[in-house]
Symmetry: C2
Subunit: 117 residues, 2 copies
Amino acid sequence: MPSSSQLDLTFAALADPTRRAILARLAQGDATVNELVEPFDMSQPAISKHLKVLEAAGLVSRGRDAQRRPVHIEALPLADAVGWLETYRKFWETSYQRLDGLLAELQSFTPKSDQKN
Amino acid sequence: MPSSSQLDLTFAALADPTRRAILARLAQGDATVNELVEPFDMSQPAISKHLKVLEAAGLVSRGRDAQRRPVHIEALPLADAVGWLETYRKFWETSYQRLDGLLAELQSFTPKSDQKN
DNA sequence: TATTTCTATAACTGAATAGTTATGCACTGG
DNA sequence: CCAGTGCATAACTATTCAGTTATAGAAATA
């Protein structure tokens, strides 16, 4: 089971759009730092910092290929994040169902012309 | 589809263990602010601030019951967060499978005594 | 060996975050 | 109406964060 502070790191890492974009790119395969810098209007050190955050969260690992440090996505903490969310999903869904039931009940007393999205 | 900045807010909100605990509590049903303060070794304004963050992220909504402001969990942004993660899950899984396949291939050329975890 | 390529680190800045205490405001109930 | 309850807001502090430029180091290449 993931520790609370592990989830802190994972969700904090995911809170930045640049880092999510990096992960989205890495989902298609490993990449070097320069390859990750290229699509962004941002300096190389900025990307290196983001990679450090992702690595500290265990979301990526680094390899070695000559001068290059290829970046590899690590699935486990992402799966843990999904796991945390899924733990509570059933409760949200039951509240949704309660809401759905209530709405259905209300609509049965409402003229069709008042029904909205 | 959720906007990028919406995901920013959602994941940032989830990055704090106090806020995750609040959501876990709310998954079981609505609660007043004081009820949410009680389990934490933290001032009431601190909890109110956390609730403001959760509300800004759309993760909770507030009602009104006399002086009380009951807090209600909102499932949609959480579902969106799961959605983002799930979008890439299949790629992680396929990279896992690729890795598994590669390892299997390598092991077929490797003496048993060299096989490691 | 000198140069170039790839990446990391240092030092700095401005903005955001999480907490505190003190206080104010709205609504209830006696 | 006024005392108390429930909550929010203000003002402040310490810390963290995301970005910058400048520089250093490590490995390949010419």
